[in-house]
Symmetry: D2
Subunit: 405 residues, 4 copies
């Protein structure tokens, strides 16, 4: 029953535990095969088409490595601890929908993927007689070994270690390469909390900087941002039309979410909602967009045409005379596109995007000094992770349609 | 207008020619973004989800490198030659449908992807006033510089150089890694034909062996073969039902091909056929399979359920007592699955699969010896590529459904 | 006459120019085959045994790539410019002695390797009838194309691009991996000065940070520092003894430098000095240390024994109670080692070491903004290279002999 | 006491056992830091300057991985087994002298490095009270677990797995890259013998082919062969002169071996011989050659000058008219070089070199089939390792001095 998988990032991944294999084989987990990890980023980085399926397996692998290391250092990790923690990280992305960040703001309005994950995990746990009890405690920060939660979710969790390595590998952006194996070797426990040995400090600095750079160079890249906003607008428009009674061709699962507005309460109570949600993946959206290029609504048709032909919005960041430019682009759209004043905002609009390189307050990365003390990496002398870097950076964007020259 | 793309395999790819950019931006080329290079192989190698889009760009890049090398060696490559050859290789996969090898045997019965490519290229050439005239000559082996055709299509073409490197990279199977940069450095021309300098002989041997290993370890891997045959059967069944008048939910483009049997003549004459074909990609198939799990036909529903839940056929290769095993598996299926005797063959069947490591007859790899002679690599003393390896290897397979234990 | 070399870091290196080949084949350049790039760092990173020979070839390769890029962007690089710049960078390390940083402070007291390089280049230029005139102008910042000098020597020169990549590769410290190919793609010229296009800003940040981390994790690693100081002390002691008339066994070239104190004037005037200098490489030092383990002088014998058996000094950085610790270690050495009070300082001593991550004043890295302006990377909003990082970091060290436990 | 080392090939290497650390810290093992793994191959592949020190550590690491794998599969590997096997492989190269293959045929005439290793291991074992008893049993094939010996020395031992990976990595010859991690995962035991699981067959084929290619492309590369033969001739001439009473400058250890002819008996009996042998490393040879460029003997001086200035012999393989060419080159040398007829053979000579890709008789690689049978990989249907490849390939060489054009 044991299984080995070839991963171009980490080499061979082993899944000896039957509980872990049960999850991997679950159709709701297999669904992640059709959900790309980086959403629409492949418009800019065409190599970056890897899936949440392999990311989840990779994070599970790194969790195993981290716990092996801690076990060898004598921190008493039981087999049950290890299985629970591996199950927890394996399931951390289970609630992601297709092109997840886009969907959260359209199809499932106001419900985050973490909340969806929580409902799904609960359902699987019922199906399997409490097999996930331990994993759920780790998720909910109720496990007595607090560091297990930190390995699943903190500024130095195995989720980040995997996705930075994997996203760099697949996008070809070497700036995100991190020494995850070194960081794993340097993990330790102090007062039941995760920490990094002093000699691992440079690797942690490098990791934080790499994440910072990946955000601005890849995840929040102007064109990627424009592609993501286009997708959000397509789904918002489709939902708007559907709620008005327009019938749009779509798969049964997608139709359901276009025609119904789901509350968190419903999601939790009505098992049919989760069943339908778990039928959705990237392919439902891709086929819908292709079909909607022929939609009667000219706004939807145009947006879908733009997406399909990679004729994306232009994006300008932190422009000095944003108001002026905004008015100008609005005038162009008004002249060239036949649509109402309200609909114009599907073609010219603005907002903000932001990222924190290091959150020095809530969830800190602690360094276990040789002299026994414990220090926040951001407070160490000559640290690269100083307040200058650690603050949240916010950028304004102006996004607009541009006629072909 | 020049464009640079990040490729994790080759580094930065540049596309300075406006003709090349015109093709890259064509919606029929952009469509390749949604067609995976390795079809269903990701069931076994989950990292291998890369697309024909990036493969085509990568092959175009290698063509540029090869011609630069030949130009530096004084073989007089003109800018027009280079653009033509890059256009030719860029378009070599344009006729691939979703999960191409599967589709060829079901949706477009009896029409190979090369024939589709040819029709599409012709259409694009008309749209762009003969821009592809040179490329078409190269394809058709009518270009006076015969070696250009060999770089596009031979046993040492840039197509193979790219796909071996790329498939190894994404699948994580290091056995397929080749020294493509060294091979490119060693290319030369003799009598207007492509050849490899004598000191490049080991790299060529390595390349042929790597391809051999990739075939048996990856492309023809038992489980990959089983997944591919499952997909073929799903589409064959869907077509069978459609032709009988059963209405199956599907995207407009897929419906068209399910409900119509297309001849090569029609493909060439009726522009609507290509238009519809170029709307198809992997997502049409994936969504169809998800929806057809609820089909009324129990055969189709069961096959789709198997695919969706990765409960694939079992495959046995070259079994000594194949007839006996076949009868036995047929008996199991007959007992467990409620279907007609004829339909049973969707669940238990057999056939052959084969691969030639090196074709010593039609298209040989020639080594340009230092003494001026030209020799087929398969005929050199102590060559790894001897007749033992070069012959075509054929394996019988027996493929069957297995009840869950 | 053209030559191709296999480099594990950059792939194939080509040297088509006969001037470049003339230098590569010069015995004074071949000598660099026996001088390790990272000196004694292999005591900590045993993979890091690569030589200045390949580093120089690699830097020459990157210079070619950089100039090709600038040429393609229309900055009019002539073939002569390219050859001159490649010769200049090829020769930039020619004046390094064995374990160079150590030697500068002992054998050739007060003469830096740049001064030695300058004399050697002058000599080779005379031997080859002014072949290096252009290269010498570039070195001396007298070339009208000022950016050529910056490519040879500045905070973003190809020397650094090569050594960071190479040192990371060979040491296995992934923290130093940089995207040098991306940086090369982003180079541009503004007002005759080197600059980086705006979209390359993250790669430059990454490069500066990587260099910072390599300094503290590798080049100034405590144990590496201790090994380097041990080597300095061995050579200082050997020179001290030689000047007193003690005859130490050594190769003829090494004996010459032990028995004579050379002034810069002599180096320039007396051709015999350079001839002898160019006979020296790492092997002279390694054999001397092995032989001197049997020296009569107990100080020299002990130091050599320590080096040979990797029983290095201990090093403490920025210790809070350094004076106290110093006295204590001195007392231990006084008790355990039979030597004079003055000689004790070969076993217990202190000093400082420092590094600037980015020098914001003298030699700045300029970013060519899309709006046409030119900005110092350290002064850009939200730059990682802020004043916090850019300042010079100095650390105190205390270095001492420790009896085996 | 536990130690972690950074290896660019395998990542982090751990040495938790105190016995293993004792060996690593032994001066006779530290000596391997100054002996290059690939001897003079760096003349052609300048990146290939890695040492036997790191190769030995790497092989020890792979042994640990292999035994972990076998232990997980239930083959009952004890901690003592693991330590013994790791000690054995750590010491497998301890008897190598500088530029070992060259030395064996000159300084220590007729004594192989395995015999020297055996004497050294015996000495260390005495120093450490039988700590190496188990390792010695493994070496001598007397250990009851026969597969341990096979992991140390067979056609699929961890020595080969490490050196192929490492030599490829450092030389930049990708043809030698092997999937060693996959091979390790596939190891198993049958009848107390090492075997590979059936699904690992392609990796083993790849490994054998990679080794074949590395031999002909790197280890037996014409120029490498020429450089090696030059070194042999230098040392043979130096010994010849020394035996005649000529005093050549050299380090004490090298002088000893030049002035004395050592028998195997002496090596075993006289502890002083091993002590002196263990003082020798590459640096003794390099400094000697530099000094001997000024030797009075014109033959020695010329050979050393050739080596130092990389003006190597030319080598021709399997030449059709070898006798004719030989006479011709002899005539050139006779005319240009002033020396006796006998001495001419230092400048023009011939011989054979050979390599077996796979030895199908003595030491076979066995495949553990799923049906329980055990088969020699060379006898399997469609195996790449067929008799065509497996036979020993011998090539004749003609080696000669060539005047500069």
């Amino acid at each position: 029953m044991s299984k080995i998988i070839n991963d171009p990032v980490h080499g061979f991944l082993s899944f000896p535990e039957k509980e872990v294999l049960t999850i991997v084989n679950h159709p709701w987990f297999q669904r992640l095969r059709n959900i790309m990890q980086m959403g629409v980023a492949h418009f800019v980085y065409p190599g970056a088409v890897h899936t949440r399926f392999l990311h989840s397996l990779g994070a599970c692998h790194l969790m195993g490595k981290a716990l092996e290391e801690l076990q060898e250092k004598g921190f008493g990790i039981t087999t049950q601890d290890s299985t629970d923690a591996r199950l927890a990280i394996l399931l951390h992305d289970i609630g992601h929908g297709p092109f997840s960040h886009a969907l959260e703001h359209s199809l499932l309005e106001g419900i985050g993927h973490e909340q969806v994950s929580s409902v799904i995990i609960d359902r699987i746990n019922q199906q399997h007689n409490g097999m996930l009890d331990g994993a759920m405690k780790i998720f909910g920060s109720q496990h007595p070994k607090r560091f297990l939660h930190q390995l699943v979710s903190s500024q130095l969790d195995v989720d980040r270690l995997d996705y930075l390595s994997r996203d760099s590998f697949y996008s070809g952006v070497s700036e995100g390469v991190i020494g995850y194996d070194r960081i794993l070797k340097m993990l330790t426990i102090r007062n039941n909390e995760l920490a990094v040995e002093e000699k691992g400090i440079y690797s942690v600095e490098k990791f934080i900087i790499a994440r910072h750079i990946m955000y601005w160079q890849v995840y929040l890249h102007k064109t990627v941002l424009g592609a993501e906003l286009l997708l959000v607008n397509i789904l918002r428009r489709a939902k708007e039309l559907s709620m008005r009674g327009v019938q749009l061709p779509a798969t049964p699962a997608l139709s359901y979410f276009l025609n119904n507005t789901i509350s968190l309460e419903q999601l939790k109570q009505d098992p049919g909602v989760i069943d339908r949600f778990c039928r959705l993946d990237d392919s439902d959206i891709v086929t819908a967009i292709k079909t909607w290029m022929d939609a009667e609504d000219p706004v939807l048709a145009r947006l879908c045409y733009m997406h399909r032909n990679r004729s994306l919005y232009k994006v300008v960041l932190d422009h000095e005379r944003e108001d002026e430019l905004y008015d100008q682009k609005l005038a162009v759209a008004r002249r060239e596109i036949g649509c109402t004043e309200e609909e114009l905002h599907y073609f010219v609009f603005r907002g903000t995007t932001s990222n924190s390189t290091y959150n020095a307050v809530d969830s800190r990365i602690m360094i276990a000094m040789k002299d026994g003390s414990l220090r926040n990496i951001a407070e160490m002398k000559d640290s690269l992770v100083n307040e200058h870097i650690a603050h949240k950076v916010t950028k304004r964007y102006l996004c607009f349609w541009q006629p072909k020259s």
